[in-house]
């Protein structure tokens, strides 16, 4: 009896360890960004605000990650001495090719998140969802789920629900899932 329980416990412990420790690490693949970018330098030294690059368009839609033309406005030629800036100018700005940034917050196509409503109407600050990303000096690697292809940092529905419940905002399924 004891022997049986022991082997059962060994199997169970191994599965629990693999499932809780090994699996979350194995399911994500780490992808480096094509070049480094310092939000801190742009925010503190250049005095830029989030909305200078991540703008809300006139129709209420969100521009997301800026296109290379936006970078070219200041970086037509290298302004500093970093290798990443040199790479930006030579590889992307000169050729007019957009930088293939890895997106930390890409939502599935069946989920619709209107930035305009949350920023303008609910007066949420960028940091409330994106933490201190705007003050970071270095871009983290993007952890992409090997099965779905979505980032580990993608906001989950439970977080949306918790925030809505906290603020007493009612939302039906079709408000977000079009």
């Amino acid at each position: 009896m004891f022997r049986g329980a022991l082997f059962f416990a060994v199997g169970m412990t191994f599965a629990l360890a693999a499932g809780w420790y090994g699996w979350p690490r194995a399911i994500y693949r780490q992808t480096a960004q094509p070049l480094q970018f310092s939000h801190q330098v742009h925010a503190e030294k250049a005095g830029m605000k989030c909305e200078d690059c991540h703008t809300l368009l006139a129709d209420g839609s969100f521009s997301g990650i800026p296109v290379v033309d936006k970078c070219a406005g200041c970086h037509a030629a290298p302004a500093g001495t970093t290798a990443d800036e040199k790479l930006l100018v030579e590889k992307y700005v000169t050729s007019g090719r957009n930088v293939p940034w890895g997106v930390y917050s890409r939502q599935p196509d069946n989920a619709w998140f209107p930035h305009a409503v949350h920023v303008n109407l609910a007066k949420l600050r960028c940091e409330q969802c994106h933490d201190q990303h705007g003050k970071s000096d270095k871009l983290q690697q993007v952890s992409l789920n090997r099965i779905t292809g979505y980032s580990k940092s993608t906001i989950k529905m439970s977080r949306c629900e918790a925030c809505h419940a906290e603020r007493g905002v009612k939302a039906g399924c079709l408000d977000c899932h079009k």
Binding site: R3, G4, F7, F8, A9, V10, G11, M12, T13, F14, A15, L16, A18, G19, W20, W23, P24, I27, L57, D59, G60, S61, G64, P108, D109, N110, N145, I147, T148, G149, Y150
Partner: protein, 524 residues
């Protein structure tokens, strides 16, 4: 310690139980669902700037105005007073059975016929010119649009197309079997006014159609129907079959030449391309331009034109029932991929001309039917039409810009109705099409020998109906609907409701257009 087989089973059992207490199975379910949303063959949702484009729908001659919501220049939603097809019109370009491959050779032999399924477009003029260049015939299906107005114009001795219906001011629309709340005329002219109660619909139809169910008043029997109908003036009468006897009721009702009734319509400033008369079995190669199916293909009519070894070539954006009948299918642009035009919607009170702009930024297929035909004309050493489709549309636009029509007031107090039509209007037989279902191949023989199997050469009817028609078992019956003719062998069957005929069809659009349809039957 010696590890036995039972110990390994215990470890495995513990592992399974432990796994169920980890996120692994639940995340796998969730992740695999998300993975299935991103399969490579599923078109991704475009991301980018949101814009709107104004255009016209070209799926049918109604030419409804549309406002397309676009993301990254791709249409994602069509708004407007649209029918179900119109709302989803921008998705046709992504049809899962879109035709992309062009066959290497298409044999062109004998007398050529070009069948235009979307007549009155600028393309129609070019197709007629191509038919001339081939020395062949430009063909169209019989004109079923505006059946009532055509019948009335004939009775009044006016040119066809010179009458319109002032639906915007009509209070009661009396319909003899016309699907006025489904796919009739322009949905944007009928449905909004009907929904708000500005337009009453009285449906006179023996069958429980969708229009009959939704109508404000449904009368099942044609006899004295007008006396039972609650008419609020101005009222107008339309008939699905265009029977002169019913069209002429508009004269008695005083609906001619008044607001909310039948009014005069100015012609457009170009000559309408008329269909050539094709002798029976005279066409050896038939080209069908099904890029815009503004009309139904009446296959019995088409079959009469074809020689026994005729080749059928269909121009279509995607596979359909029609392409199954083709020997060769050539790809053409889908709706909203190129500049197109639409002329005067059926039953419109005024003549109009709409030009649609492309909604899709880069067409998957850039060819049109005339491009394929021009290539064949050049390959055979003939001279193709000198004008392209966009140029023809531009010429029409210029003509319209300088056009100042004059319309005379319409006034009629009486018309002469042919007596034979009045007599024929009384009988109503209905045809129910049933697609052949051969069941499982394992029980085919059993099934075919059972009473469930309905061979395609039979028409089933109640013995009372057979007696009324004066036919017995195995007699040959000629059945005619507005879509065409068929010849069947009679099989009396008490299971069929009296007054109905039941036939088996491989393609229900041939005789019934997918719905129960009025029919006439005679020995033959």
């Amino acid at each position: 310690m010696i590890i036995e087989r039972r110990d390994i089973i215990r470890i495995a059992a513990g592992g399974v139980c432990g796994t169920m207490l980890t996120p692994v199975p639940w995340r796998l379910l969730d992740d695999s669902a998300k993975w299935s949303q991103n399969w490579s063959w599923i078109p991704p949702v475009p991301r980018g700037e949101r814009t709107t484009k104004e255009s016209y729908c070209t799926l049918c001659p109604a030419g409804c105005a549309i406002r397309a919501a676009c993301v990254a220049n791709h249409p994602v939603r069509l708004d407007g007073a649209l029918c179900a097809s119109g709302v989803a019109g921008h998705t046709v370009a992504y049809h899962p059975r879109r035709i992309l491959a062009v066959p290497k050779t298409v044999p062109v032999h004998g007398r050529i016929g070009i069948l235009d399924m979307g007549p009155r477009r600028a393309m129609s003029t070019l197709l007629a010119q191509a038919a001339d260049a081939f020395g062949g015939a430009y063909l169209r299906m019989p004109d079923r649009d505006e059946a009532t107005l055509v019948a009335l114009a004939d009775l009044m001795g006016r040119p066809r197309g010179s009458l319109g219906l002032d639906l915007e001011h009509t209070r009661t629309l009396v319909s003899f079997g016309a699907p006025v709340l489904e796919r009739w005329a322009s949905p944007s002219r009928v449905l909004p006014r009907w929904r708000t109660g500005e337009l009453r619909v009285v449906q006179i139809e023996a069958v429980e159609s969708r229009t009959a169910l939704a109508a404000n008043q449904w009368i099942t029997d044609e006899a004295d129907a007008l006396k039972r109908a609650k008419l609020e003036e101005p009222a107008v009468i339309v008939d699905a079959e265009g029977r002169p006897s019913i069209a002429a009721m508009n004269v008695d009702l005083g609906a001619i030449g008044r607001e909310g009734g039948i009014v005069a319509r100015a012609p457009l400033p170009w000559r309408r391309v008329e269909s050539a008369a094709a002798a029976p079995h005279s066409i050896d190669t038939l080209f069908i331009d099904a890029s815009r199916a503004h009309q139904l293909v009446e296959w019995p009519v088409v079959r009469q034109w074809l020689a026994s070894d005729a080749t059928i070539v269909v121009f279509a954006p995607h596979e359909s029932g029609l392409t199954k009948k083709a020997h060769y299918v050539l790809p053409v642009a889908a709706p909203f991929e190129l500049v197109e035009d639409v002329e005067t919607p059926p039953y419109s009170a005024v003549a109009s001309y709409q030009v649609s702009q492309p909604l899709h930024p880069a067409p998957v297929v850039k060819f049109t039917a005339i491009d394929h035909l021009n290539a064949m004309l050049q390959a055979s050493g003939r001279v193709p039409p000198s004008v392209s489709a966009p140029e023809m549309i531009k010429q029409r636009q210029e003509l319209m810009a300088s056009y100042r029509p004059k319309v005379a007031r319409l006034s009629v107090t009486t018309v002469n109705v042919p007596p034979s039509e009045v007599e024929a209007g009384g009988e109503l037989l209905l045809v129910v099409a049933r697609a052949p279902d051969r069941g499982s191949p394992l029980i085919t023989k059993l099934y075919e020998e059972s009473g469930l199997f309905a061979p395609e050469h039979l028409v089933r009817m109640h013995p009372e109906t057979a007696a009324r028609l004066g036919v017995g078992s195995k007699a040959t019956l000629l059945i005619e609907t507005q879509h065409g003719l068929t010849r069947r062998s009679v099989l009396p069957d008490p299971a069929i409701r009296p007054g109905f005929l039941e036939i088996t069809e491989t393609d229900v659009t041939e005789l019934c257009a997918g719905r129960v349809t009025a029919a006439k039957a005679r020995k033959g």
